[in-house]
Symmetry: C2
């Protein structure tokens, strides 16, 4: 019997492949898109991002991208996108030019060098991730780009927990028909991860007595001491709805709003929070305002859920406890 | 005995004046800054904003502004900034030029034309608001730019409630000393207003049985029918900390994160959500990352609190019930 899929690979045209280096506790995740490309926007809200190809996506033209690479390894991990490009080029996917195809592969990375052995994903790992791409449900937790992710670092690594990668999806009924919205997100935030519905922390800064409630205490707590440039939440939002660029922008903003609710604090100077939003639909149709609200609100929901899933599926690594291995605090 | 002030006028250099047209249920609010100007940034996250001077603030130069005008009247209300400019020019405040001063007065407006008699604030009302400016605690609720504000409009005006204007402040201890962070915000959102700490709706779409939980139901509820272009949350974040432009950007992003938590959904295609962040400090000093996090997190908190205060202080007007006049649902 097939497994029910409620991850981003439910979105028609989206395949995901991951490669995990368990020994060094790092990895990368490739989101593979249709050969003709997907229209894509980006929204960077963190103060310390590590990315490729965001300038292209900031232009008004709603550039088409052929894959997106999420990876560990800090800025070194951006190299993994090279491997995804090679994999796509071998298959003739990319921007068509007189000298052959040029695959467009935006990328964003997290800092995970201190979790394992300070090893970054390589072009070969990026290639392997692309090679593994399928429409199977996305594995969540300490795999791919989430392998070395950590969370709740406002009081330093001694009080932090294991982060991870999470993915969810939902179906939205719009005037033009039913469409899917899916998210994949790597949670490596300086802040705590919250279950928005239950209004509780699910993974964050804690000691033996319980949560340190990083955000609430941050303003006055003299012990808070986050490391700059070593945290981030990155992700991809995908849909098959035939939406225009302005609606992709509403979706990516909805994604960041979900992120702001599920990560507290979010978007800090010590984070590199970056989200991509794309549609696999070849063309766009006019859309009523109510439908724009619906699809953006659905994006908020799946982002909140994917963040919770990322930390709940995480496994204890590098001395950082996972949520599943801690006694319940609440 | 002096009244304890915990509003934005606690920030040294910030005065606030409001003018309310009670008959027509509209008004405007002027935030008056030091004559030499305050360094200011803007962050527009709504799909339907109504503003003046945002292009200037989007430049890298951290332009100095002499006042900010928040008003009702939809785009017509932008005229009220003319009156604030005249008031400032009469006092010699503004950018110095060979032909006299040019006061820089960014502005943002809300749609309130349907609450009262479809009258917009005039230059004379802007002038009166500036003339009334003082360091007294800011009056909250159905006054100034909040006079005609409404909230919880995802199911249309029949299920909406009265919004308003709110202001709070807090003190942050940074390496460089103690500084104040204050917020003033006009809540006219399509979404519901939430008390983030208690995790409950305080004002939003409701019927006789209770809250309609607009956001949760939006994706699938066929009755949701918001009006495009007639909603918005606008505000000003102010501090006296000697911060650089990149830190003002962290503050305005923190403000939008607080907004995203306290307004659900926020930043929609039907909202014009716009926040300004400014410092009255004449110059900037280097700041540690932890202090940037502290001041941005303090901004989130005061934004969340100010939004709750805006709707809790609101009074029933134009047939729209205020939170204080409804039976408690929870």
């Amino acid at each position: 019997m097939p497994v029910k899929n409620d991850t981003i690979t439910c979105v028609p045209g989206v395949r995901v492949g991951q490669h995990t280096n368990n020994e060094d506790v790092t990895g990368c995740t490739a989101v593979i898109l249709p050969p003709e490309g997907a229209r894509c926007v980006v929204d960077v809200r963190g103060g310390a991002p590590g990315t490729r190809e965001t300038a292209l996506l900031s232009e008004g033209s709603a550039a088409r991208v052929h894959a997106i690479l999420l990876g560990g390894g800090s800025a070194f991990g951006l190299a993994a996108a090279d491997g995804v490009m090679r994999w796509l080029a071998e298959r003739g996917a990319g921007l068509s030019t007189a000298a052959g195809v040029v695959p467009i592969v935006p990328a964003a990375i997290i800092y995970d060098l201190a979790t394992g052995n300070s090893v970054a994903p390589t072009p070969e790992m990026g290639y392997a991730a692309a090679e593994a791409a399928s429409v199977a449900p996305v594995a969540c937790g300490s795999v791919g780009a989430g392998a070395g992710a950590t969370v709740g670092k406002l009081h330093g690594r001694a009080f932090a927990m294991k982060g991870g990668i999470g993915s969810t999806s939902t179906v939205v009924r719009l005037g033009a028909g039913e469409f899917t919205v899916g998210v994949i997100v790597v949670v490596n935030a300086v802040g705590d991860a919250w279950d928005v519905q239950r209004n509780v922390i699910v993974a964050g800064a804690r000691d033996q007595h319980g949560w340190l409630h990083g955000r609430s205490n941050l303003v006055h707590d003299r012990n808070a001491r986050p490391q700059p440039g070593t945290n981030t939440t990155i992700g991809v939002i995908a849909t098959d709805a035939p939406i225009a660029r302005h609606c992709l922008i509403r979706m990516v903003i909805g994604g960041h709003d979900g992120l702001a609710r599920a990560i507290r604090p979010a978007h800090t100077a010590a984070d590199g929070d970056t989200l991509f939003a794309l549609t696999t639909a070849p063309d766009e149709r006019p859309m009523e305002t109510i439908d724009v609200l619906r699809i953006a609100t659905a994006t908020e929901h799946v982002m909140e859920t994917a963040i919770v899933r990322a930390v709940q599926a995480a496994e204890t690594r590098g001395g950082l406890p996972a949520a599943r291995d801690l006694p319940p605090y609440l």
